[in-house]
């Protein structure tokens, strides 16, 4: 290889290529934003962009959990129903039972962790495929939520409780700040700690990482617990957001949206690859698309179809990308 000049040029190109490959979600987000700014009236206003950030804040939390589960090569289809159950529980605790807010929230998060443990246990110890496990537990959770709430929603939650997510701080509300903190914490966990690296190794090759001393079983259960606890948090924040707690909060459609966001964020459905930045921009991209449909007064049902197209396109894109590796 006697072509030093060529090599350094190639290196720069290679570096740009790897950057785009690693941060494809950011690139897609920017492209879609530019297109939207050009063609959709009223898109590029500060208020509208702020709205998108606010709308994205809560799903991003769920998407980070989903990203981690997808990185193991599993999937968490119960996520949306966990949101519903936790919304119901927290609503009933603070309104019907007039419980103090902190214990109520802790109990709700506890319920989330139990759901996660059950999912993780089925997947890791009984070796039920994640798809089946979480599909099953999801419906069970939904059923429980309906029973607990008698199918009714809890409206007009206490003011103090709403303040947890609705206090304005630095021009943003606390929900966005909570989401930002979670992003930072999980960025550290996924990209700077040994746990993140081991999770990635586990997702890419279970036998190799197990024989290298990675605690694969623990990781596998942990991701489901994290996903469900974050879902519980999302349940709480969503209830605050709409001032209503009900079992139909979240649901299957929400799960699908979160998975689409994660996939847009560059998660490999085959495991091993995923990032917090990806989850953030993936969700924001979806919200931009939803926002555009709204602004253009198109039929909102178009949104679901577009989500479907995105998820298919992302998977095809990933296959093509892998082929070029």
């Amino acid at each position: 290889m006697g072509k030093e000049q060529n090599n350094s040029d190639n290196k720069k190109k290679q570096a740009l290529k790897t950057y785009i490959k690693r941060n494809g979600s950011v690139v897609i987000f920017i492209i879609i934003c530019i297109i939207a700014a050009l063609f959709v009236p009223r898109f590029a206003s500060a208020n509208n962009l702020l709205l998108i950030v606010k709308q994205s804040a809560i799903p991003i939390i769920a998407c980070i959990g989903m990203t981690m589960v997808l990185m193991t090569g599993g999937i968490d289809l119960s996520l949306g129903y966990t949101i519903g159950l936790c919304s119901t529980i927290v609503g009933m605790l603070v309104k019907t039972h007039e419980m103090a807010y902190i214990p109520a929230i802790l109990i709700t998060l506890g319920v989330g962790s139990v759901i996660g443990l059950i999912n993780g246990f089925c997947v890791q110890s009984i070796k039920v495929p994640a798809f089946i496990t979480t599909l099953g537990t999801g419906y069970i959770i939904y059923g429980i939520a309906e029973i607990v709430s008698h199918g009714e929603s809890v409206n007009r939650l206490p003011k103090g409780f709403l303040a947890i997510g609705k206090t304005e701080l630095l021009g943003l509300n606390t929900t966005v700040l909570i989401s930002a903190i979670i992003c930072i914490v999980f960025y550290y966990i996924l990209h700077k700690s040994t746990f993140g690296r081991n999770l990635s190794a586990f997702g890419l090759s279970e036998p190799a990482s197990r024989l290298s001393g990675v605690a694969t079983a623990r990781i596998n259960v942990t991701v489901y617990v994290v996903s469900s606890v974050l879902a519980a948090l999302v349940g709480i924040l969503l209830s605050i957001d709409v001032n209503c707690a009900q079992p139909t909060m979240g649901g299957g459609g929400y799960t699908f949206e979160i998975i689409t966001g994660a996939v847009l964020g560059g998660v490999s459905l085959f495991g091993g690859i995923g990032s917090v930045i990806g989850a953030m921009f993936g969700v924001m991209t979806i919200k931009v698309i939803g926002n555009c449909i709204n602004l253009m007064n198109a039929a909102y049902y178009l949104y679901d179809a577009i989500m479907g197209i995105i998820i298919l396109a992302a998977i095809i894109f990933e296959n093509v990308k892998n082929r070029k590796l």
Partner: protein
């Protein structure tokens, strides 16, 4: 000399990706001006180090990938295959190293895959007729395999046989065998050779790719050597000699292949007492001292890997006592054993040894990540330092530590897998087939590393199917048979292939 039926001339192929598409922007050639020919009813051996281009050349012949330059002439006609089907129709059968059978179909269904015998209207296949014909085909070659059995229930050797039968039944005139004996036992190899001889008599030619020198002499008629994608030469097997072929393969005469300069110490590192590797196997005992290389020989399936994995905690424990550095280990797990300094290099580096889609650096530090984790985050520069040091010390050929492990050659992958353990400072290293499927150069480098480790006082337990390797490297040899140890050879003078073999069967 009988007539030439295949001629490949001036074959050149640029580097390509996993799908046969050329990679843009590079002009690296994996084959350059290669010449290759096959006569009627001969066994032509194709040999070369890993990455020499043997498989690529055969893929061109099999129609799996097209050549970029050069011509292929089959039975006097120039041919251009665009897919494997065409090659098959022209009489080229390809038995891949990784078997291409559907595990959940029966033997008969596999044999007739894609050309099922169908009744009227091409709708229903005639199962019974296919079964009968399959049985006849198998019997003709002297195999007693039930065509109704699912392929996944067959042993690897039997699957290999099904592949061969399939190739013959397609009326192949040339059969390519890519390392057919890699997973066979000696008796099965002998049987395979009988088949090859009888195929020869029927006028079928065989292109035989193998690394095992002992076999070549027994079966081959001519031998072609490739090196770094170039044609080196073709010799008659009458002129075959070990050193000559090796020097053709590596381009120089090899000095001492094995290095054995260490001396074992007295201190015992591992003692295993009454270990059972299955519910019905005899218990076995073994021990390893500091700075000692202990070999474990035996046939594939004798339970060697199981012993290693039991000690390492990577499989179910059936009872026995493991005493490591004077401490009894009750519940071994890979994690706890690695922390204690006992490590296991697996025989299957692609699945168990490496995370193929991670880069070299991440693979090397995978088992010692907690050491890189200081003040709350992974120290990237320390990681890089550690991996660069390993790349240098083990002479891993790569562009940088950022290169993905799946883009490396077999020998370099093995070195990365080894580097992972070296980076975790082993006290006892179990090596399971450390040189399987890697080229001669990398082999001798790995022997050097093993010797160096032993000199530093690392205890080494080396499982190997290659007898010369066992004899050349070990201070002591255990031989295994049917799940237990059948002999312990302590005297280097006793180390002879015949002695070891006699204890394996």
């Amino acid at each position: 000399m009988s007539k030439t039926i295949l001629k490949m001339d001036h074959i050149t192929k640029f580097i390509f990706d996993a799908y046969g598409k050329p990679i843009r922007g590079t002009d690296v050639k994996i084959l350059e001006d290669v010449h290759f020919d096959v006569c009627e009813s001969e066994v032509h051996i194709l040999i070369g180090e890993n990455g020499a281009g043997k498989s690529t050349l055969m893929k061109i012949l099999g129609g799996i990938i097209p050549q970029d330059e050069g011509t292929v002439e089959l039975f006097g006609k120039e041919v251009h295959f665009t897919n494997p089907k065409q090659a098959e129709e022209m009489g080229v059968g390809f038995i891949h190293q990784e078997l291409n059978l559907c595990p959940n179909l029966s033997v008969a269904e596999n044999l007739f895959l894609g050309r099922e015998i169908t009744g009227k209207g091409n709708v229903f296949s005639k199962k019974k007729q296919m079964c009968d014909e399959s049985r006849q085909m198998l019997m003709r070659l002297g195999f007693d395999i039930d065509p109704n059995v699912l392929v996944r229930n067959l042993s690897t050797a039997q699957q290999q046989i099904v592949e061969i039968v399939k190739a013959i039944s397609c009326d192949s005139k040339i059969i390519i065998m890519d390392e057919p004996t890699a997973s066979l036992t000696q008796t099965e190899i002998d049987h395979l050779f009988d088949i090859i001889r009888s195929m020869k008599k029927q006028g079928i030619s065989i292109i035989y790719i193998s690394h095992r020198f002992e076999e070549l002499k027994e079966i081959g008629d001519r031998l072609t050597v490739l090196r770094d994608g170039c044609y080196v030469g073709t010799i008659d097997m009458a002129d075959f000699s070990h050193d000559k072929v090796i020097s053709m393969m590596v381009g120089r005469t090899l000095g001492q292949m094995y290095t054995c300069t260490h001396t074992p110490q007295k201190e015992e590192v591992l003692r295993v007492e009454g270990l059972k590797i299955g519910p019905h196997t005899e218990p076995l005992n073994l021990h390893v001292n500091k700075g000692e290389v202990v070999g474990i020989g035996g046939l594939v399936g004798a339970g060697r890997t199981e012993v290693a994995k039991s000690v390492f905690g990577a499989r179910k424990f059936y009872g026995g006592k493991i005493i490591y550095k004077g401490e009894e280990i009750t519940k071994p797990t890979p994690k706890s054993m690695i922390q204690k300094g006992l490590m296991y290099l697996t025989e299957d580096r692609k699945i168990e040894g490496l995370v193929l889609r991670m880069n070299i650096e991440q693979n090397i530090t995978l088992a010692s990540l907690s050491e890189m984790f200081k003040n709350g985050y992974i120290r990237r520069n320390e990681e890089e330092k550690a991996s660069d040091e390993m790349i240098k010390n083990l002479n891993i050929v790569c562009t940088s530590g950022e290169q993905l492990a799946n883009t490396l050659s077999g020998g370099n992958q093995q070195k990365v897998a080894l580097a992972k353990w070296l980076n975790s400072k082993p006290m006892l290293l179990i090596l399971d087939e450390p040189t399987r499927g890697i080229d001669v150069n990398a082999k001798s480098e790995i022997y050097q590393i093993i010797d160096d480790l032993a000199k530093q006082g690392v205890a080494i337990l080396m499982i190997s199917s290659e007898l010369p390797e066992l004899i050349g490297m070990s201070d002591r040899i255990y031989v295994m048979r049917r799940g237990t140890i059948s002999a312990e050879l302590t005297d280097r003078e006793e180390f002879k292939q015949e002695t070891i073999l006699s204890h394996t069967i």
